[in-house]
Amino acid sequence: MEENARLSGISVSELLKIDKEQNSILDLTVVSGQEGFLKKILREEINRPGLSLAGFFDCFAYDRIQIFGRGEVAYLEKLIKDGNTANIEKFFQYDMPVCIATHNYEIPKEVIDLSNRFGIPFLRTKQSTKRLIALLSTILADVFAPFVTFHADFVSIYNIGVLITGKSGIGKSENVLGLLERGHKFICDDMVKVKKIRTPGGFELKGESSVNLGPFIEIRGIGIVNLSQYFGEERILKSERLSLIIDLQEWNKSYNYDRLGLDEMYENVLGVDVPKREIPVSPGRNIPLLVEVAAYREIMRRLGYNAADDLDKKIKDLIQKKEKEVV
């Protein structure tokens, strides 16, 4: 784990970029105020500016994204029709990051002029207000999630996100090749960003590439390999939930490795306990196979099965039976 950070914010143009990367799910188009595209969105929350437009500016959460729904747009139109634009002008003097109108409502020319004059970007979407807010919350929760960066590899084995850590040169990347050959999926190599995401049931960890340059991996002696060309695009994933950490270690004769698996080990990542196994590496051990079996064991553990427990019960039964025979 190398750092523990939280993005301080994203600019409006970054928000548009994220939207584009996600197949324009927010469907944002630019109306005006391009000059303010580098303005930072610093808060996860959104604001409906009805009260401010009506002239009540106390506690105005101007530093949030401002959403204009049916009511706000209708009110803007009414104010303009009545020639009462003082509040609108005052509104635009606040340093807001961005305004977004829903339902593709037409933005009055007067408002566009103000947005351009003060450099406040105005965007528009055909989504409904409810849907826009839901989508924006999800996207912003992801953007503002606290994260840590690992020097590790991240793969998906039977849909279990497995983070493979270990010293440089221990064979993490080679191990990833072996796992892909066994049919598993690649997420990223070398730098893994693990984010803590709030879910209805608590928190979960999501791992993804810290800089998304594509499915490249460095293999000593070969160089850079493009994994999607070699294994196929369907074997590359963008992100996965982190469920298991495998720490590859140099074999240390005096260290007592877990030989039974009766006890679980965990590593705390951003306050979430992640199951962890330590696997000693030595010549002749098929590490990709071992990692795959560890992932399979994790699946079974979640289903409530532990092979060591099972065997232990059988041995205890056997011992008892023998004792009865003696008596």
Binding site: R259, L262, D312, I315, K316, I319, K322
Partner: protein
């Protein structure tokens, strides 16, 4: 080659956890260590071997060690079985 007899004293005998402790301790020595119970002879460094003995409380095990550190090995295993009682009970 040295040998020694020990008696299993913990309630549940040589089940998974005790076997793992015993194999780990035996693995720290270079000597070859065997356990003999009745007609069975097993390798003391292998958990699965030890489990197959299914040795319950009161069982007498013969430990045979062969190598440069055989004395220390026997003593360490005796201590685990009879004194520490596998850290159980």
């Amino acid at each position: 080659m040295k040998e020694m007899k020990v008696t299993v004293k913990n309630e549940y005998g040589l089940h998974a956890r005790p076997s793992s402790l015993m194999a780990n301790i035996a693995s720290q020595f270079n000597s070859e260590i065997k356990i003999i119970k009745d007609e069975n002879e097993v390798n003391c460094k292998s958990i699965m071997n030890l489990l197959l003995l299914a040795a319950g409380k009161g069982t007498v095990l013969k430990i045979v060690a062969h190598g440069e550190d055989e004395d220390q090995a026997l003593e360490a295993i005796r201590e685990l079985v009879e004194v520490r009682k596998f850290d159980e009970d």
